[in-house]
């Protein structure tokens, strides 16, 4: 049989299975905490409290989530066309150039709402450019995108080191960063959004780019499921041979999809640069591009899944920092282990519990039909 495990109802497929995966991931993580000699329940408390316990904590969680929504969408878009873009990290990094240039150019003369559109175009443009090259290489030369995008991450990193030590650093400064932006280069916080719920954002850098991330998520949904181009890229993603049959140009789709993916990754740079630091620092991406892969996997490459997955990872980041602070024997590296476990169970071992759950549903289903039949007779 080609499809031995019958279709599950949507709520089980998209709700139950990820939940079971997540619970198992946390149970195993709890074991790890136990091994270090700490109380896992304590750790869980600090994690939850640290992520959601106060307005400020929520602000931090959503600040991280904003970043992960962008990179998650970036990976997901490419994934729908059958392309595994591992280069969101580098594309986000290079996207930062666009944000920085816009801010350095306009921050003293223009208000933030004028600078922001320019920064969006700049970040998306630079990110897209950085993704265009691997896309073009794959489409025209057959160089595998997984390899090239990894390489491009390293190149991006080196370029940024060069720029931040030689070109974009203010004269006489020893820090590898641009100058601090004036008011025009600083995105306003979303304190009003949290205060609706009676929360105080405090010091958290929760800013306007969160709304932009939500708009981007909706835009990605429209693109993938409601446009002709989305139809073409999904066809190619599911079946390249069917795409050829339908007269869909693989070259064109590959290059355009990679540029969209890179653009989304690039827009991630708005959040830390314009929303938190108000300057571009070395290594401001901090692995968010790679977290995006996990977010996309966990969110099933669907915007409606990516947003909660991004918030979950935001929680792991923010709550994890709190654990490290409250429980000295749990280091930051332990938090990375927990994140790794979530990725492992939610992403890589995605199909581990599916057969069992499928069987359970089959058993319930056949019992229900049997009951219906006896009632009918």
């Amino acid at each position: 049989m080609s499809n031995p495990y019958a279709k599950l109802p949507a709520w089980a497929e998209y709700g139950l299975i990820p939940l079971v995966n997540l619970v198992v991931a946390f149970l195993v993580a709890g074991l790890v905490v136990l091994l270090v000699g700490e109380n896992p329940l304590n750790a869980a408390y600090h994690m939850i409290n640290g992520a959601f316990g106060r307005g400020e904590y929520i602000g931090f969680t959503l600040y991280y989530a904003t970043t992960f929504i962008f990179t998650g969408l970036s990976v997901a878009v490419a994934f729908h066309a059958g392309l595994f873009n591992i280069g969101s990290e580098g594309q986000a990094y290079i996207g930062g150039i666009g944000v920085a240039l816009a801010c350095l150019w306009l921050d003293k003369t223009m208000p933030w709402f004028i600078v922001l559109p320019v920064a969006i175009i700049g970040s998306a443009g630079f990110g897209a450019l950085w993704a265009f090259l691997p896309g073009w290489l794959q489409a025209k030369r057959g160089s595998h995108i997984v390899i090239t995008t990894i390489m491009f991450n390293f190149i991006a990193s080196s370029i940024m080191v060069y720029l931040l030590t030689k070109v974009m650093k203010p004269l006489g400064s020893m820090a590898t960063q641009t100058r601090t932006f004036e008011a025009g280069g600083q995105l306003p916080k979303l304190d009003w959004l949290l205060s609706i719920f009676g929360l105080n954002v405090g010091n958290a850098p929760f800013n306007v780019s969160f709304l932009l991330a939500l708009v981007a998520a909706f835009g990605v949904w429209v693109l993938i499921w409601r446009t002709r181009f989305g139809y073409e890229m999904r066809t190619m993603g599911h079946s390249p041979s069917a795409a050829r049959y339908a007269g869909i140009s693989e070259t064109r789709i590959t290059i355009i999809v990679m540029m969209i993916s890179g653009g989304l990754a690039g827009m991630m740079a708005l959040n830390p640069i314009m929303g938190e630091q108000f300057r571009m620092q070395l290594d401001f991406v901090q692995g968010a591009g790679f977290v995006g892969i996990a977010v996309a996997l966990m969110g099933r490459s669907h915007p409606a899944g990516i947003i909660p997955a991004a918030i979950l990872f935001g929680m792991l980041y923010q709550g994890g920092a709190e654990i490290a602070f409250e429980m000295p024997s749990i280091s930051r590296d332990m938090i990375v282990i927990i994140q790794g476990l979530v990725i492992l169970f939610a992403g890589a071992l995605e199909n581990m519990f599916r057969p069992a759950i499928g069987r359970a549903f089959a058993a319930i289903g056949s019992r229900a039909t049997a009951a219906a039949q006896t009632r009918g007779a």
Partner: protein, 511 residues
Amino acid sequence: MSDIAIELRGIDKSFGLVHANKNINLTVRKGTIHGIIGENGAGKSTLMSILYGFYQADSGDIVVDGSKVTIKDPNAAIAHGIGMVHQHFMLVENFTVLENVMLGAEDSQILNTSISKARVELKRLEREYALEVDPDALIEELPVGLQQRVEILKALYRKADILILDEPTGVLTPPEADHLFRILGQLKDQGKTIIFITHKLREIMAITDEVSVMRRGEMVATRNTKETSVEELAELMVGRRVLLRVDKGEANPGAVKFSVRNLTVRDGRGVTMVDNVSFDIRAGEIVGIAGVAGNGQSELLEAISGIRKAVSGTVLLNGEPVDVTGHADPAALRTRGLAHVPEDRHHVGLVLKFEESENGILGYHRDKRYLNGVFLNTKAIQADAEEKIKKYDIRPPNPRLKTANFSGGNQQKIVLAREMERGPDVLIIGQPTRGVDVGAIEFIHKRIIEMRDQGKAVLLVSVELDEIRALSDRIIVMFAGRVVGERDPGATEGELGLLMAGVEGRKEAAE
């Protein structure tokens, strides 16, 4: 010792929500050829996989030679004397015959002794069953018929008394199939038991002693082959009366709509797959291309539909040239009146993960009718799908259902509806009924003839010779990439069979 080789009692197997085998009882007598027939998805392969240990039954017993056994993997099946010849051969292409035969049955880590022992044993088997094949030949250099023989030898080498053959004739020419039948007859005479799975009624009638019919996971009947008829078996398979013969009137050919001249196509490795092929199709006729799978038909279809670049040659569609050696865009050809039902609906004709309605526009998705600017007009797409579902009786009638969840026949109807409803001038159809149930075959054949009667030029490629003969108004035979003959549909199967095997063709070419 009983005279029952295998008995299955109450075998039941579900995959999730799919109930693939329902309480199956089957008795296979020793020294007989027992046919198992049923449509695709009837549960034949599942049942045999249970018998061969690929799957475990949820309940029920397997009795081999009078004693109840548990078969937990193929090794256990072999230990009980059950061997299997798969539909897709399980051979290592770059190993020799000898190496393949002994693979997995070596005596020790050091191969030398095993090899010499295997060679002796192989020679003995070849003599005993008249299964000659050079033990040192590489598998990839052997024709398909001989590769199959190696599969049989593999099973015999492992001392199989019961041989299961899963759709063994699908890849063979008629002469090769006849040869296989003779071999099976000999094996039977030597006391072996053979279980023969097929969906071709003719083969059942030709070689089996008994036949069991499966339908929707159930064993519906077992008959003595001598006491049954093709009609009865077809009815049992489908569950209703079926028209096996195709009713069609005289063709009324008009002007040439599609013409191919000196077309040559090479595959990725540079091997010439289509060699200087020329033919014409007129309006209102069906031209059939007969040939054993792999003789260039697939590449021909791909080249003339713009999917694959040809090396040289010209193609005229409605008198206008098609750039087959350059950028013949399949989408552009569609708008010029060429519709293409591809051979492989799973990977080419459909995107199985799409909803039915999404597949309804594949290739036509640039049509304004389905779009609002750059956006998809989901309402129009949905309405269009519903209309086609009604007209082609596609079941279940749900345009939002994932295409993978439709049966083979209904999937094929989705493709046909999409390609036929446009009223194309030229219709190219590859393997219209491959993996399609008997009930749907009838419908598809009728539709193809309707297209002809509407004055369309139809090119039909099929490995089912019966289908080619029933539908075509002219038959072209391809062998090794060349057209080796053209016959009218009155040609006998024997005559076409020889052409397909390249025997007659060489003579004709020499003359």
